[in-house]
Amino acid sequence: MALLAKLTQALFRWQSDGTGPTRLGQRRIFILPTGAGLLFVCALIVMLIGAINYTLALGHALVFLLVGIGISGMVHTFRNLHGLIVTPGRSEAVFVGEMAHFQLTLSNERPTPRLALELEAEPGVATRADIAGSDVARITLPLKTRRRGWLPLPRVRLWTRYPLGLFRAWSYLQPEMRCLVYPAPLDSPLPPASPTQQGGEQGPEGGDEDFAGFRHRQPADSLRHIAWKAAARDMARPLLVKQFAGGAQVELRLDWQLTDPTLPVETRLSLLSGWVLAAEALGNRYALNLPGIAIPSGAGEQHRRRCLEALALFAA
């Protein structure tokens, strides 16, 4: 094993652990002609035959100049990737079914721009990046989410055809990045509130009574609470949500046991996920109980995130 590790290390010494910036060196850039490149070669062969057949001295020169342009274009394509520095960034947690977004920073130390870089985390979904000379570009790689839990960024293919399109140079990046995927929330009525020490008698709807102010809309906010009138007045402003202060704090206990045991595990997690969002949207305090995990009651963005994390990483 140790020998194998050493061998791999010797062969792929350039492979960093993926957490830091990676500079693309010549050993990790591959290059092959494209379909257009093959067409170009065929055209050159026909042109050369024509030049020989008609004894065109300048025809020879033209073909040879084009050969030179092709070769130098190949080097330029390679150079478009060579020396590029890729730094992994962050990715915000999302719900299953939403797109996960991975941020990468591409830095160009050269004074000339690097154009038409394409990054593909998934085949067929390319993100294009153009970096000006001595500049940095932040790009976001979208990735479909299918399951809850950690979604690691798969191997990213970084490729370019610039400048001539006759060659395609590519490199594989393996930045150490992952995105947390929460279970998709399911809309269902919240479980009844349990009485708390504060003695709030009102139902969970108690938080609907007094208007307390606006805040920016979160993806899970109920449509009923959006300030539509304000949105209609100013299209440019992000959507706002009306916040209401409940008469008394209600404490909800969101318990695994409250979900229908006949349902599959994932559905039950989705129900809990929906409750967490609903409870948070209503401004309630809530606690989350999962088999083996108990999150004490709380409220706010931090708490919500903690609950959703527990749901995302729950191992049945």
Partner: protein, 650 residues
């Protein structure tokens, strides 16, 4: 067909392709049918309008109709689609119509490939310096548009043009190496279309009154000659072309069929020279009378014309030696002599009567010859615009009009000789030439085209007699420009009498000649000479391939070195720090972007205690070098890094 969003062309990429297409198509408008140029301009205009208005491009059916219409027009015009001119017209048509179909990157690549192809087709018509420069510019534009297509909207105009220049400049050494070392294949690989070499001027293979006078109005260069020694006097410069023996009363034609070999007795020193013959699509090579050695790919015919085995349809060089004093076929085949006495019986009775009277007076052939020349010297007039002649052309010329160009004099002279019983024939070719003092080449133009006569005299063989010399001695001694009166339709080029203009013309022609000789004339032979100069005698294609391989590898290495040299120049301290980080990375420890040297050192102490000691020393030395007193010595840092490098754990 739908286009993928990522492959679609952006709006502002299209004008680039328009310009590229226009730059490659427009020069063809000069020599292709007018209707086709109009057709293309309409297609261009339509495409540009659609682009401007951001309208939908025409559908498949409409495009198909336009293509079929254009192809039909070309077929009607040329009666084929596969000739040289029709092929070029077809390419031009496709290019114009492809602009109506510009949707995706793929379409754009087709346009660019077509543009490169069209660049080549211009060389069918001209390979001059100007064409070369124009096409270099067009190549630049086409390549820039290819770059623009792939760069997308982020590519700036100046950046794209600069990138294309960089590519072209880097391609130049490759072009040079390939041009010099690529194994050259001579001649056509297979049969060329009928019109492959059309549109070339020169002497024709028959002579009727007016032929040569027409040719002489062209200032085009027929061939250039470089003499090994001194240039012989002008009146000896008779460049022999086709010889005409058959006369039908109006037109002179060569006698077909092969005869015995010419027997030439050379008397005098041989003159060596190299002729660079412009393409004239005929086999004769125009050597000086009388050639003693001829190039390998040619042979000396029985009437002393040097003929190539293949028609000369591109500019070629030939080496000859000639002797200016010679005796030719002193013993001639009687059937040939008989043939050279034939005249159409009922034509030109007055001429024949005159000749008969000379013969009846008992004069010797030499005396008859002198009488005829005296006749011409008396009251004849040398002109490019002689009056038209009828059925008995020679009679009219000799007895009434008395105005003519060299073909009239030589024809009349030959008819007189034949009627007097002296074998005679017409020789066409060129006479004289102009020496360019800049490069020493003798330039022979179409305006130097000439016709003279040859008579066969007992014991002397075939003797050249130039009746034009009797009419206008200046023609032979100083050239046609001085021999003709003012107002004759001579090419403007020849009428230049101002000194500085003449010098300018000489310079320009010397440059063109150098271009033709050194650049365009670089063939297999020149390639071999060049390699021999570099110490590789008798190079075959294997030597060439080897040399080519070595040279291109070196070039590629140079250009790769340029591509890889993109390290930012850090100050020496940072460079040393990066080196230390690389040493760590080799041991599976990577510095995260947010880590300071001290936090990294702390991590190393925990993760790899065995490396802690040398690395701590490096960090300490680095911090001192970085933040210590200015001008701090780098030695401690260097030695600490060297120690880390040598550090063997476990």
């Amino acid at each position: 067909m739908t286009t993928q969003a990522s492959e679609a062309l952006d709006h502002w990429a299209v004008p680039w392709l328009f310009v590229a297409a226009l730059a490659t198509v427009a020069p063809h408008f000069e020599h292709q049918p007018t209707w086709l140029s109009a057709y293309c301009v309409l297609a261009f205009g339509w495409a540009a309008w659609l682009w401007w208005q951001d309208r939908r491009l025409p559908g498949r059916l409409i495009l198909m109709l336009i293509v079929v219409g254009g192809c039909g027009g070309i077929w009607i015009e040329f009666r084929t689609l596969f000739g040289r001119d029709s092929g070029v017209s077809l390419l031009v048509l496709l290019m114009a119509l492809k602009l109506l179909e510009l949707r995706s990157r793929r379409d754009a690549i087709v346009v660019v490939t077509l543009a490169y192809f069209l660049l080549l087709t211009h060389y069918f018509y001209s390979q001059s310096i100007a064409t070369g420069l124009w096409l270099l510019a067009a190549l630049w534009i086409v390549t820039a548009s290819l770059i623009r297509i792939h760069g997308g909207i982020a590519a700036s105009l100046s950046g794209t043009l600069r990138h294309a220049s960089v590519l072209a400049i880097q391609a130049l050494p490759f072009m040079l190496v390939l041009y010099l070392l690529f194994p050259r294949v001579g001649g056509p690989l297979w049969g060329l279309p009928q019109d492959a070499h059309s549109g070339r001027s020169g002497l024709s293979d028959s002579m009727a009154p007016g032929n040569i006078a027409n040719l002489a109005q062209s200032g085009e260069i027929a061939f250039r000659v470089l003499f090994a020694g001194t240039t012989p006097p002008r009146d000896k410069l008779y460049w022999r072309g086709p010889v005409f023996e058959n006369f039908d009363g109006i037109t002179w034609r060569p006698h077909g069929g092969l005869g015995q070999r010419a027997r030439v007795e050379h008397q005098g020193l041989p003159v060596a020279y190299e002729t660079t013959l412009e393409a004239h699509n005929q086999r004769w090579l125009l050597a000086l009378d009388a050639p003693s050695t001829v190039p390998a790919e040619s042979f000396l015919s029985n009437n002393l014309t040097v003929n190539a085995r293949q028609p000369v349809n591109y500019r070629q060089r030939f080496r000859f030696t000639s002797t200016l004093d010679y005796r030719f076929n002193v013993k001639e085949n009687p059937s040939i002599l008989e043939r050279n006495l034939q005249l159409p019986a009922e034509r030109n009775p007055r001429t024949q009567a005159l000749a008969h009277s000379w013969k009846a007076s008992g004069a010797s052939p030499e005396e008859i010859l002198g009488k005829a020349l005296d006749l011409f010297a008396s009251e004849f007039f040398y002109t490019l615009r002689p009056p038209l002649l009828g059925e008995n052309g020679i009679d009219e010329f000799l007895f009434s009009t008395r105005r003519g160009f060299c073909e009239h004099y030589s024809a009349a002279f030959v008819v007189l000789m034949r009627a007097a019983g002296i074998p005679a024939r017409v020789v066409t070719g060129y006479q004289g030439g102009e020496r360019n003092p800049v490069d020493g080449y003798l330039i022979v133009r179409q305006s130097d085209a000439h016709a003279w006569s040859e008579v066969w005299l007992d014991k002397r063989g075939w003797v050249r007699v130039d009746p034009t010399a009797a009419v206008s001695p200046a023609r032979i001694e100083t050239g046609i420009a001085n021999a003709l009166p003012a107002g004759e339709p001579l090419p403007a080029l020849l009428q230049v009498r101002t000194d500085w203009l003449r010098t300018l013309r000489h310079r320009w022609e010397a440059i063109n000649n150098a271009w033709n000789q050194q650049v365009l004339g670089f063939d297999r032979e020149r390639q071999r000479e060049m390699l021999a100069r570099f110490g590789i005698p008798d190079a075959d294609w294997r030597d060439l391939a080897l040399a080519l391989g070595i040279a291109s590898t070196l070039l590629l290495a140079a250009i790769l070195a340029w591509a890889l040299r993109n390290r930012r120049q850090y100050d020496p301290v940072t460079q040393l720090w990066h080196k230390a980080l690389r040493l760590l990375a080799r041991r599976q420890l990577h510095c995260a972007p947010w880590e300071t040297p001290l936090t990294l050192a702390a991590r190393v102490r925990i993760a790899r205690p065995e490396l802690a000691e040398p690395f701590d020393a490096v960090v300490e030395a680095y911090l001192l070098a970085r933040y210590g007193t200015p001008g701090h010595d780098l030695k401690p840092l260097r030695s600490a890094i060297a120690r880390l490098h040598r550090w063997r754990c476990c």
